[in-house]
């Protein structure tokens, strides 16, 4: 059991001790562990990020960098609960359609300027500006801030966005409807502040190390395309005294096996466990190998407009015949959870409903699948022929191959089709598929981030699922005090209509050197902050 210091605790204890400077060659202020002299954290970045501009960031790696460089209204504790960021406190009105954030007065940009409510107003307008065209513009729509949709369509100016700086340190947000989980969406990078003068001066190149002004615990000091990304302590950061890591170095290594090699040589302190090697590594290096639940779902989509798959019995049979525990235990083997619902159980306040097929044994499922297929006139001698589309990846390939064999045993003959990512996306988007692999990770910790995909008018609804009851339940859930009964009903409908076949819920599998402490293993969104880490003497 590791002790993970909360920001507050560190704050109190260290102020008691009167520590004001760096911690080098010191003991940790809370735990008393001896710290390493060199507080540099090296980790693997799987691919160069398209952008680290908070409003333009679109990938996981870029978001992690952005979270170090910038600080939003709120941040997260190690367990994923909300913690004050630039906002010291916040409150919503009773109908939960208006929120007020009170900003701390000692927050500074790396050039010394104070961080004010105006910076947030600027950043948020930027996020919805059609000219900026943020890839996460749709996230802003999900926050329900007033007028987002109209602004994105170009019908209203960005100044009409429902956010206002009451004074320099008070930010007021008005929503188009009530949204109880609005504050939890404020840890997302798209809502982070950006420095107007810098962006106006440098244009798109403002994110280069020599130009960037940021308000997070770190500032960008080096960026070499496809090689490294270095961020170092920002002495202007309001809580700089409590930051232990001086420098975080992200090394861009595409190949996961090569990354593991370099981890072994201690060139990296953190990397992902290569596909299919979790069991072996857990045995060899039990302390360093971690598997943490994630807010992600892996599933197969059925094209409900396809001539064959529009038959419910067939979709059901395909879903039933997948032996999920083989996928999770034998192929992946890193604590992934077999999925019979779309929303993962790790989602806050969400209770996984017992779906009918989830309770059956695999033997019974296969039997049922065979009889359902027989009803439609298929059998092992006259198999159902389908095509399964997946994008190029070692992991997707393995799962597809195994599932193909499972289907074969009940009389389904699947042709596998592997396509490179962009081709795959355009094929799936155009509906030129029967069954397609899909995955989704939550943008915020609430079931709607998943279930929204099942709405008939969602852009992401690639199976063309159209159930008015589902639409109604999802929309009405937003204003409810306890939306979970609605979510449960939606999940039950999914397990009746089978627009998708859930396969498993992800875990994040990583290798972490034993001397790196403070990693937020409990955070299901896998949001980590360098400022919360420290390296013990080794």
């Amino acid at each position: 059991m590791k002790i993970i210091p909360s920001t507050l605790l560190v704050l109190v204890v260290s102020s008691l001790l009167g520590i004001t400077t760096g911690f080098a060659s010191n003991a940790h202020p809370v735990t008393g562990e001896k710290l390493a002299n060199e507080q540099v954290f090296y980790y693997r970045i799987g691919a160069e990020s398209p952008s680290i501009d908070p409003q333009l960031v679109e990938d996981v790696e870029g978001s992690a960098i952005s979270r170090d460089l910038f600080e939003g209204l709120l941040t997260q504790n190690a367990d994923g609960t909300l913690a004050p960021g630039v906002a010291q406190r916040w409150e919503g009105n009773d109908s939960k359609d208006s929120y007020t954030f009170h900003l701390r007065k000692n927050a500074r940009w790396s050039n010394g300027d104070p961080v004010t409510a105006h910076d947030f107003v600027y950043a948020w307008r930027r996020a919805v500006d059609p000219v900026v065209s943020s890839p996460y513009a749709s996230f802003m729509e999900l926050t329900s801030i007033k007028n987002v949709a109209d602004i994105l369509k170009g019908n209203k100016p960005t100044s009409s966005l429902g956010v206002k700086a009451v004074d320099d340190y008070t930010l007021q947000v008005s929503l188009s409807g009530s949204l109880s989980y609005f504050p939890s969406m404020m840890v997302h990078t798209t809502t982070f502040p950006t420095h107007q003068k810098t962006i106006e001066k440098h244009g798109t190149s403002w994110t280069k190390p020599e130009n960037m002004v940021s308000n997070g615990a770190y500032k960008l000091t080096e960026h070499i395309l496809n090689e490294r990304m270095v961020r170092e302590r920002n002495t202007m950061y309001w809580n700089n005294d409590k930051t232990i890591i001086d420098k975080t170095v992200g090394l861009i290594i595409t190949d996961e096996n090569q990354a593991y090699n370099r981890y072994q040589a201690s060139e990296l302190y953190k990397t992902e466990v290569p596909t299919g090697q979790f069991k072996r590594l857990k045995k060899q290096l039990p302390i360093e190998t971690h598997s943490n639940p994630r807010l992600c779902s892996y599933y197969y989509l059925f094209n409900m407009e396809d001539e064959t798959l529009k038959h419910l019995n067939l979709r059901k049979a395909l879903t039933l015949a997948i032996n999920r525990s083989i996928v999770t235990d034998k192929i992946l083997g890193a604590g992934q959870i077999p999925a019979y619902s779309f929303t993962p159980g790790s989602t806050a306040n969400f209770i996984v409903p017992d779906t009918a097929y989830g309770k059956m044994s695999q033997k019974d499922r296969n039997k049922l699948a065979i009889s359902l297929l027989a009803e439609e006139g298929y059998s092992r001698s006259n198999p159902l022929k389908v095509t399964l589309l997946y994008n190029t990846s070692e992991g997707h390939k393995k799962i597809a191959i195994a599932i193909r064999q499972m289907w074969k045993s009940v009389g389904i003959q699947a042709t596998l089709e592997n396509q490179e990512w962009k081709t795959f996306l355009s094929t799936r988007d155009a509906g030129n598929f029967q069954i397609a692999r899909s995955g989704w990770c939550g943008d915020y910790n609430e079931a709607s981030t998943f279930l929204d995909l099942m709405r008939s008018d969602s852009d992401q609804n690639d199976s063309n699922y159209n159930n008015p009851v589902v639409d109604e339940l999802i929309v009405s859930a937003r204003t409810l005090d306890d939306p979970n009964p609605n979510y449960k009903k939606v999940e039950e409908l999914i397990a009746k209509d089978f627009p998708i076949s859930p396969i498993y819920h992800y875990t994040g599998v990583l290798m972490l050197k034993p001397y790196v402490k403070g990693w937020p293993h409990q955070n299901v969104e896998a949001n980590w902050y360098s400022k919360d880490l420290y390296i013990t003497a080794h």
Binding site: N257, K330, I331, I401, E417, E420, K422, T423
Partner: protein, 320 residues
């Protein structure tokens, strides 16, 4: 000016100097009498030990690719569910389990998969080089035979095509024809004929003035017939050598495509795909996953090289 160039990545593996020398020597010999040349060549080929051993090895591999499946209890796509979860132990090569070469990471029999990969890789190599050689020969022969402006226009086109980065075209082809490996190889074949066309054009230029061609023209044979009936058979020696040496390049290219994960569709496989999977798991204690396919891959490519070299030496009239 007619000097061969290694234009594309894959042609790196063809020793163009030798081909050109052979071409020069063949056209130096004033008259080529088909039968004696081929008979003589065969005789000399069989005296070349390296080439002969390679030919036997290659024949054995081809034989293995066709009769091998008879000896395996496992199908190439069947999963051994027992071995699946513990491949390091249960998936190791063993006669008892019937997995002579062990299993892959999913518990599929590697012996059967290597056989399947052998079939695909050989097919891909042969199709690719066949297309390259046919296109290159016809193009070069037509350009050389017609001469004049058409010839220089055709050869300028070749010059231009040679400057297009091969890798980039290859990847776009994969993206566009991702659904079929054979389409990709038709595409690669269509990209690899450039050197061939230059050599054949040079040959045709020197053949054009020979009496038998002039006689054919005088009797009113159509140009295309002259090219196919009289010119192509006379350059066949080079064509065969070139094609043999092109096959390894094609197989290498396929392995690169597999490295990018864009090769043949599962559950089918190829050497490249197998080697790539094996190389990824080098540290897993499943070394057989790399060594078996790599052995077949290297042995076959070596054989093609030695056979190609042997053929070249055998056909070269200067060495007689």
């Amino acid at each position: 000016m007619d000097r061969p160039q290694n234009s594309l990545l894959i042609v790196m593996y063809v020793d163009n100097i030798k081909i050109q020398t052979l071409a020069d020597n063949l056209s130096d010999g004033s008259e080529i009498e088909g039968r004696s040349l081929w008979q003589d060549a065969r005789h000399r080929f069989f005296k070349n030990k390296a080439a002969l051993i390679s030919l036997i090895t290659l024949s054995l591999i081809v034989l293995f690719a066709f009769v091998g499946p008879q000896f395996s209890p496992w199908d190439y796509e069947e999963i051994d569910w027992d071995a699946m979860g513990d491949v390091q132990v249960l998936g190791a090569p063993s006669f008892a389990s019937g997995h002579y070469f062990g299993t892959d990471d999913l518990g599929r029999d590697l012996y059967s998969r290597v056989i399947q990969g052998t079939q695909i890789s050989l097919m891909v190599g042969l199709i690719g080089s066949f297309i390259a050689v046919v296109v290159g020969t016809l193009y070069g022969a037509i350009a050389g035979y017609l001469g004049g402006r058409i010839d220089s226009a055709m050869m300028r086109t070749v010059d231009i095509l040679m400057a297009i980065p091969f890798m980039f075209v290859l990847i776009l082809l994969m993206v566009m024809f991702g659904r079929s490996i054979f389409m990709i190889f038709i595409g690669i074949g269509l990209l690899s004929w450039l050197d061939m066309s230059r050599i054949i054009r040079g040959q045709t230029l020197s053949l054009k003035n020979k009496e038998f061609i002039e006689a054919a023209i005088a009797t009113g044979v159509k140009p295309f017939t002259i090219v196919t009936r009289h010119i192509v058979p006379n350059v066949l020696g080079i064509v065969v050598v070139y094609a043999t040496l092109l096959v390894p390049g094609m197989i290498m290219t396929e392995s690169f495509i597999s490295f990018l994960g864009l090769g043949v569709q599962e559950p089918q496989t190829s050497w490249g795909a197998l080697i790539n999977e094996g190389a990824r798991t080098l540290q897993n204690g499943t070394l057989w996953q790399l060594l078996f396919p790599l052995f077949f891959f290297i042995t076959t490519l070596l054989s093609f090289f030695f056979i190609g070299d042997g053929l070249r030496d055998a056909l070269d009239p200067k060495d007689r």
